[in-house]
Symmetry: C2
Subunit: 318 residues, 2 copies
Amino acid sequence: MNEFEFIKNIKKKYSLDLVGDDCAVLPKDASTDLLISTDMLVEDIDFRLDWTTPELLGRKALAVSLSDVAAMGGSPVWALLSIGIPEALWSGRFLDRFYDGWHELANRHGVKLVGGDISRTPNKLVIDSTVGGSVPTGAAVLRSGARAGDSIYVTGPLGGAAAGLRLLNEGLRFDQSASDPRMNLLAKQLTPTARVELGPRLGDSKAVTSMIDLSDGISSDLAHICRASNVGAVISVNDIPFEGEVMSIAGSVDAMLDFALNGGEDFELLFTGPQEKLSLLNFDDIFRIGEITETVGVVELERDSKREVLPPGGYRHF
Amino acid sequence: MNEFEFIKNIKKKYSLDLVGDDCAVLPKDASTDLLISTDMLVEDIDFRLDWTTPELLGRKALAVSLSDVAAMGGSPVWALLSIGIPEALWSGRFLDRFYDGWHELANRHGVKLVGGDISRTPNKLVIDSTVGGSVPTGAAVLRSGARAGDSIYVTGPLGGAAAGLRLLNEGLRFDQSASDPRMNLLAKQLTPTARVELGPRLGDSKAVTSMIDLSDGISSDLAHICRASNVGAVISVNDIPFEGEVMSIAGSVDAMLDFALNGGEDFELLFTGPQEKLSLLNFDDIFRIGEITETVGVVELERDSKREVLPPGGYRHF
């Protein structure tokens, strides 16, 4: 059983009807719903300290939760930060630098730290990041609204984070001042950009029927939308936008596709909606990559006019 | 630098005016404020798996956050649960039993699980528990409202959790069916009761000027109130209520006092207010233990008509 199956089970067992989207949606006041999302990042599982800097890690810890709020069409408002930290890191400047990076991004988006907790751990760093956001009442974009015939879009080029991960595994280290074009790919992995402004604009357009952020890769994240919406999907290989430099790292089209489809962590938004509406809205930098179908639960990949089933791939904790 | 000093520093550095009470207080709607609290529990730091059961741990993970909401005079409404879990625990029934214990307590108080995260960890279990609650607008009981002349109260007998911790350290293990009266002390440590109903009743009374939950022990928690309220305090040793059996475990009055003053984790509420108002309200099971003074920042202990300064003690992560 992987973590997605486990969550499905407890959702059923305890009737957790608010679990299952990027954020929980709770009524706030007459005109606003509250969005809440939480993400745990564990050293040597989700990040490695020798690959990043405290500042970049602080930014990423916040960015992954900002991305969840954006994926509901909402705007972030406040945050909680719980940190479990080993003695050795506590005694240095690590945490000061981590909070500097965190606040640099938080301030840019007007997000306020309202609480948290600090605990010691036996050896590994653990971060739990929670963000609260707001969205007009009833306007949160769920995973469950996709309809057959809707087009499928992403908000930016893909595969960069997975290519960056491969480079890190191969020993390349991030250096902001280096002119090496591969640094852009490391940055995609180490300090991803959440679509904080674009998410609410897409939600406000009323043309978006479902949305999710690409944390696990298209193959898994689109499957989440298809399951929640009771539909299927077909993706056209030729329409997937790739991050520059990805091909040279991947070495083959198949490897490049694997980065985009199963790599995850690009934190672009994946959304659906009627093409005729969306094309009128003149969004820059949205890419149509496929279409929602009636073949319930099946995601297909179209390549050279042939279709094959795309199984959910990407990282699983278990 | 310990964790309290660190939090004071970042609070100042980043102007975090909503950090510093048991919960953050955020405006919800015209009549209600939202309370939010988060607590991280780390294996072998905050709990040991061979001392407890998955069910009891699930209950404690929720109870510590329920207690924070109660300490603001609020009622819990929803919760998030992030869990970092090692492979070995994942493959067994641990998590099912943990969620059973968690939900048993959550259902008792009408608290709904709305989200969370699951991650793998290299070896230790980590739990981050977040609870959202509600309180009438402006009615949250802060740490900052104590005034010289107020009486100081606790909501129940103390020292039980610390005595239970000593017994666990000495090798005694919890067995619900055993008639050993010491099991009551182990239960105080392993499955503490949050004052979920009493907290809001105290808040609603309008007679309470400040409140905190006893997670660190009187010496530290009362010092938090004194610092926030710009006052001092004196506690009378003879008025402190002790959990039954604590004396026989402690072995001396000083050791027993140390359990109550520095032991922590009793999760009773410590609050202040004018005695003349509170005595009219006929609260059962509240114990007057001292008085707020004008000696700013100083907590004193009165014993045999002599006063001595009581320094903040109890567990520090760093």
